[in-house]
């Protein structure tokens, strides 16, 4: 029951992030919204692991955290140099 409520809250956060991802208006907003969606996914995976008692899926969390950071840095550098590309 508690896991269902918690995952529901994460789904609310992910849907809100997805709406902002579609709406924009700037590219940086979309990147930040994607971060929120990723962290909601991480939280839902952690709740699922706590509910089932199975630690296998927790390794996904580490990968998501590092991949998400790489994506954010790459996108922000792209945004910064969009106007004065050689």
């Amino acid at each position: 029951m508690i896991a269902v409520v918690a995952v529901g809250a994460f789904v609310v956060a992910a849907v809100a992030g997805a709406v902002r991802l579609l709406r924009g208006p700037t590219l940086a907003d979309r990147v930040a919204a994607l971060d929120v969606v990723l962290i909601s996914t991480m939280g839902a995976i952690a709740v699922d692991a706590a509910e089932s008692g199975d630690t296998t899926n927790l390794q996904i969390l580490v990968v998501i955290a590092i991949i998400g950071f790489t994506a954010t840095v790459a996108a922000s550098r792209f945004i910064e140099h969009e106007d004065r590309r050689p």
Binding site: I2, D35, I39, A50, L58
Partner: protein, 111 residues
């Protein structure tokens, strides 16, 4: 699920929902980044503490690695987003702007 784990997980999930609503509802890019970059890592930390209480040492180790990676990297990423927005748009709505003034050297310009 134990009471302590339930309280931490529910608090974290509620905070994550608030972060999502903040990202959706705030009206400037800076305010949205605050919701995305401050509330969501704390939300994940709370959920990770709750899950670690429930799972014991094997799960706690992995959750600690994931939390550390998130807490170390997410502020850096969001700061880079802030800087990118500040450099590419006008910031007339800001009352205090510490980044205004001469252009800071970019990482690409050094060396």
């Amino acid at each position: 699920m134990s009471v302590v784990a339930s309280v931490f997980i529910l608090a974290g999930a509620l905070l994550a929902a608030l972060a999502g609503i903040g990202v959706l509802r705030f009206d400037t890019a800076y305010a949205r980044f605050h919701a995305a970059g401050k509330a969501s890592p704390v939300a994940f930390l709370l959920v990770a503490i709750g899950a670690a209480v429930e799972l014991g040492w094997a799960g706690a180790a992995l959750l600690a690695v994931a939390s550390t990676a998130l807490v170390l990297t997410l502020p850096v990423g969001v700061h880079l987003l802030f800087r990118a927005v500040h450099r590419t748009t006008t910031s007339d709505h800001l009352r205090v702007d510490d980044l205004a003034g001469p252009e800071q050297p970019s990482l690409d310009d050094q060396g």
